[in-house]
């Protein structure tokens, strides 16, 4: 019969020899093993100070990008919400008024745009569905909150600040290279 594993061991019920019954050699051997581990490199990382490197395709918290002139790209078409398998995205569309041209790129924009971070499965389908290159997933992780309501991210948390643009090029260029 073909073995399923190479590490199988034949179990036997034979009487132990005197050396085995004394038990001390086995104990000393075991202590040698643990002592070796005492000096080995540790597997854990001092987390907040040291972080393990993320994969270049890591999908973290979303960002709503602005264009080069600082206008919001999102036009509230709702394709991301349709694409979302977890139904985590909701939005309310509104028409751009006169004098708001420097705020919104298209004539329609999202007055309310919410992503529930607890529902989101970070699949990245919203990013692929977006025709306006407005929504992207970044390499940031969702910070800890103390109540569930705080995990529903509105535009205040999602839209990138004008003075602190979010760089999404790492993941995007990796994807382009693959394609």
């Amino acid at each position: 019969m073909e073995r399923l594993t190479t590490r199988a061991k034949q179990v036997s019920n034979k009487e132990m020899t005197l050396m085995e019954r004394i038990y001390l050699p086995a104990i000393l051997h075991g202590m040698g093993v643990t002592l070796k581990h005492f000096f080995m490199k540790k597997a854990s990382v001092r987390y907040p100070e040291v972080q393990r490197p993320f994969s270049p395709v890591y999908r973290g918290v979303h960002v709503l990008k602005r264009d080069e002139e600082g206008r919001e790209r999102c036009t509230a078409c709702g394709l991301c919400a349709v694409a979302c398998p977890a139904e985590a995205i909701t939005m309310v569309a509104e028409e751009r008024k006169k004098g708001e041209e420097h705020l919104y790129r298209e004539e329609k924009y999202a007055a309310v745009y919410e992503i529930n971070q607890l529902r989101c499965i970070f699949c990245g389908l919203c990013e692929e569905a977006c025709p306006k290159e407005a929504i992207f997933l970044t390499d940031k992780i969702t910070p800890v909150e103390e109540d569930r309501a705080s995990f529903i991210y509105g535009k205040d948390k999602l839209v990138e600040p004008l003075d602190k643009r979010v760089d999404v090029s790492k993941r995007q260029s990796w994807r382009l290279n693959q394609a």
Binding site: L24, I27, T34, L35, H37, F38, K41, K42, S44, R46
Partner: protein, 343 residues
């Protein structure tokens, strides 16, 4: 007794008690670090540099926890239990010679609190009284699980005390004295008892593990079978006392092992040091180095070996260790008699 001696002894008692408590406190930290390192982890490192303030944080947590005394418990005994455990653990240090003498500010300090001529019996006596702390605590909780834990603990400790006593007898016969000071003094240099009593040492060490309820003999504590053990009903600092007493016992056991088998305060080539002041300090340091080593071995064993089953524990104690200890005693007796008669 003149006043100077009284003051000297009080200072020594308080110092040794302080050192005992300090070492026990940091044993909890060392235990967690050793456990972590043996398992390829880093261990506590958040409180202070390298997590050195962790024991203080643990103690603070213990103090602020709610203190519960179960309504059905025997209240007086319930409070007595941890007290006895702590008291017996702290008392044993008195008979151990922590060094010969220290010279501080031109004053010579004898490093043994009480040179009792039956020192080793005194220690064995107090160690066996330690079982009352556990038994009373388990009984007074009025909880079947804590009672089971207490019964396990007491039968284990009583069983292993026999083999422990028998292995000590061999040492006593060799040195011809029950005084720990005398036993330590006879092992000067490298003339340690462990070279003559290797079997006795192994038996004594195994029994010391069992007496301290340390792994692989930590059956009195068992989450899956007993929820916790004899201290199920205890909380806050009463629980802290029980856990702390275990670490003090570990320290004292290491000190007794070092004194009986590993030359106590003696270290190799100590005759080459002419200055008595320096020698005193070095002997003190040598003893504590040995003690720390044995505390480490206690922890090392705990994180290496799986625990015994209860019947295996009894089997080992009664059917292996006691016969071996008797054999060891008989052989030692024969050799001692042969030597005294000039063979």
């Amino acid at each position: 007794m003149d006043q100077a001696l009284l003051i000297e002894k009080i200072i020594l008692v308080l110092t040794m008690l302080g050192i005992t408590l300090l070492i026990a406190t940091y044993s909890t930290y060392a235990e967690r670090k050793v456990a972590a390192f043996l398992q390829d982890r880093l261990g506590p490192d958040r409180a202070g540099p390298f997590g050195l303030l962790q024991p203080l944080a643990d103690a603070g947590k213990m103090f602020f926890k709610e203190e519960l005394i179960p309504a059905a418990s025997e209240k007086w005994l319930f409070i007595m239990g941890p007290g006895i455990a702590m008291f017996t653990a702290c008392m044993t240090g008195a008979a151990i010679p922590w060094g010969t003498e220290l010279h501080i500010f031109g004053y010579t300090l004898n490093m043994q609190i009480a040179d009792i001529d039956i020192g080793i019996l005194y220690i064995i006596g107090f160690v066996s009284m330690g079982v009352y702390g556990i038994m009373i605590g388990g009984w007074a909780s009025n909880n079947k699980y804590s009672l089971y834990g207490a019964i396990r603990a007491s039968s284990q400790m009583i069983s292993y005390e026999l083999a422990m006593g028998l292995s000590i007898i061999a040492v006593v016969m060799m040195s011809g004295s029950l005084s720990l000071k005398e036993i330590a003094a006879q092992q000067s240099g490298m003339n340690w008892n462990v070279w003559y009593q290797p079997l006795g040492f192994v038996i004594f060490f195994t029994c010391a593990l069992a007496e301290c309820n340390r792994a692989p003999f930590d059956l009195p504590e068992c989450e899956t079978e007993l929820i916790g053990g004899y201290h199920v009903e205890y909380s806050s600092m009463k629980l802290g006392f029980y856990l702390f007493a275990e670490y003090i016992n570990m320290f004292i056991s290491s000190a007794v092992i070092a004194t009986l088998y590993f030359g106590g305060y003696n270290f190799p080539f100590q005759d080459m040091i002419s200055s008595p002041a320096l020698l005193g300090w070095l002997q003190f340091i040598a003893l504590f180095a040995k003690i720390f080593f044995f505390i480490f071995v206690f922890m090392w064993i705990r994180w290496t070996l799986p625990r015994f089953r209860y019947d295996q524990l009894m089997h080992l104690g009664w059917k292996s260790l006691i016969p071996l200890a008797i054999l060891n005693m008989v052989i030692t007796a024969a050799v001692v008699i042969a030597r005294n008669n000039g063979f």
